[in-house]
Symmetry: C2
Subunit: 334 residues, 2 copies
């Protein structure tokens, strides 16, 4: 049987139960943005790891070495942010094929260093080796959060509002612009920057950590059409999403209009936004909006609601039920 | 400039100082078998990571999927052992090319699980993704050891005896036998097992941790000709190694005799032994031998001595100085 028949998550389900049996009670293992381990009397340790493979996750001639170094760290710190954690540092494994010169690697490490400095996360160690043909990068990030307080995927509750911390679809728009070799403009530059240089929402996650009403949280790496289902499955709940509420940037709206792209599809399916997706009890929303905007200068955007029911997303657009297929959103046929 | 001109360690030296500046005082970062981080009042956290790339570190038709899963964990636990630590668990990133089926991955995960169960080290999380052509595996292992007690590379002292915990060269002999497609025999099977299924010296490392006279320690992954130099550079000392003292297995001696291989060269340059290499104050040796053999059923083998001087290895064979070149060991020309 080929892997694509069951997919990444089907594969994980084949071995995860055997390993769960090895876990002690106080550890959260496979299945969230980070593993959560007891660290000391007041803190839990967070650990996450992400692999980036050339020609799968990036094209070497489409992203600069500096950007690639920056992004390799950013996507891992985003997983720490998704728990409401504080990042501590990272480990880098890099497998280098023939034909990549030291100057390229220097630039990569400069990008890696610049984001490490920005978030005060030293590179603690790693592994450097050869590869046959493709650059392979693995970063493991560690962080911490107050004991027992990490925001998990499994705690969404019926009646919670579903929120995101920023615009969706920009990164996917940037990827499309890049693959279509579109002529550069200020709007395209904005989308490309969002694709190449995602910013981990560390501060945002830490603010959300302090609200008991924030029940479930994760980062948006694959797009909410896929990511939100993880929260729904872990929490055994259903969700209603109102597509007209998805926050979209002005550059994305303009490019979508000229290119005849569907902003809704980019926003829910494109992925790599690295904003935070969370659910919050409605009675805490006003206080949260107030403090969140004061402390981060940003707004949270309400895009839907958690309800009792099967773990699936009910999509709505301007009050009408719609369905998402490979061909995009269509009106629901009853 | 191509990477091979400066090598892995030359590359690391280019960026390590910039990252060292980000470290807080109580953290040991780049440059040992593990990073050492403060964990709680009594323990330090150990973290290590190792990448295995198909056709660089292993040939898919020469090692079974089960063995590969086992070895992926073993080489990381070996780094925890090298600090005298207790492993806690691991994280696995795996990039799977087309053509590897789910049954292969199931066997890989079974080997991964079996060693995880043996050493009570759960898989805590990871990342599963596609690759273009080669299987890429990254394991990150975490462990702990009593605060401030981790055995580092930098503490070797003049007069220390240099010791190893077991036979050297078996793994390199197994690799040669495999590459030369030698006919199988009990001796060859022994060497192949040592190559495919290294055993992390966890218990051995923990016993050595308790001896204050054990000053420097690391695991043998590249062979002592290369590994010992790391201890010498970190400690700013020189070493004398007596080749006739290298512990060699009977199977290796027999195969070397029939194949006309140099056991000395396999023992110092072959690598992947995953025994521990350490230096110990001579006055603690008797007590150490006594307790080590009682608690592990094994002996430590003395192979040389640490001295004041440049960080390099002086090789001796039966009292005669010899030099190690690409062509092997030769009598020293003065």
């Amino acid at each position: 049987m080929e892997l694509k028949e069951i997919g990444e998550f089907g594969f994980i389900e084949r071995f995860a139960p055997d390993f769960k049996a090895l876990l002690s009670g106080e550890v959260l293992g496979i299945g969230d943005d980070c593993a959560v381990l007891p660290m000391d009397e007041t803190s839990d340790l967070l650990v996450t790891t992400d692999m980036l493979i050339e020609d799968i996750h990036f094209l070497k001639d489409k992203i600069s070495a500096w950007q690639l170094g920056y992004k390799s760290v950013a996507v891992n710190l985003s997983d720490i942010a998704a728990m409401g954690g504080t990042p501590l540092g990272t480990f880098l494994s890099i497998a280098v094929p023939p034909g990549i010169d030291v100057e390229y690697l220097d630039e990569f490490m400069k990008g890696y260093h610049d984001i490490s400095e920005k978030y005060a996360t030293p590179l603690y160690g790693g592994d450097t080796t050869k590869s046959v043909k493709h650059l392979a990068i693995n970063v493991c990030a560690i962080g911490k959060c107050p004991k027992g307080k990490a925001k998990l995927r499994r705690n969404a509750q019926s009646g919670d509002l579903i929120c995101v911390t920023g615009n969706l679809g920009d990164s996917a728009g940037g990827l499309q612009a890049m693959l279509n070799k579109m002529e550069t403009s200020a709007d395209i530059e904005h989308l490309l920057r969002r694709h190449h240089l995602p910013e981990p929402q560390i501060k945002e996650g830490q603010v959300l950590l302090n609200f008991s009403g924030v029940h479930a949280m994760m980062d948006i790496s694959d797009g909410i059409a896929s990511d939100l289902v993880h929260i729904l499955k872990a929490s055994n709940k259903t969700a209603r999403i109102d597509l007209e509420k998805l926050p979209l940037s002005e550059p994305l709206k303009r490019i979508c209009a000229t290119q005849n792209w569907s902003p809704d599809e980019l926003a829910v399916g494109g992925g790599e936004d690295y904003e935070l997706l969370f659910t919050v009890a409605s009675e805490q929303l006003d206080e949260l909006q107030n403090i969140f905007s004061k402390q981060t200068g940003k707004m949270v955007h309400i895009i839907g609601e958690i309800k009792l029911g099967e773990p699936e997303i009910q999509w709505h657009k301007n009050g009408q039920k719609v369905v998402l297929s490979k061909a995009g959103f269509n009106h629901f046929q009853e």
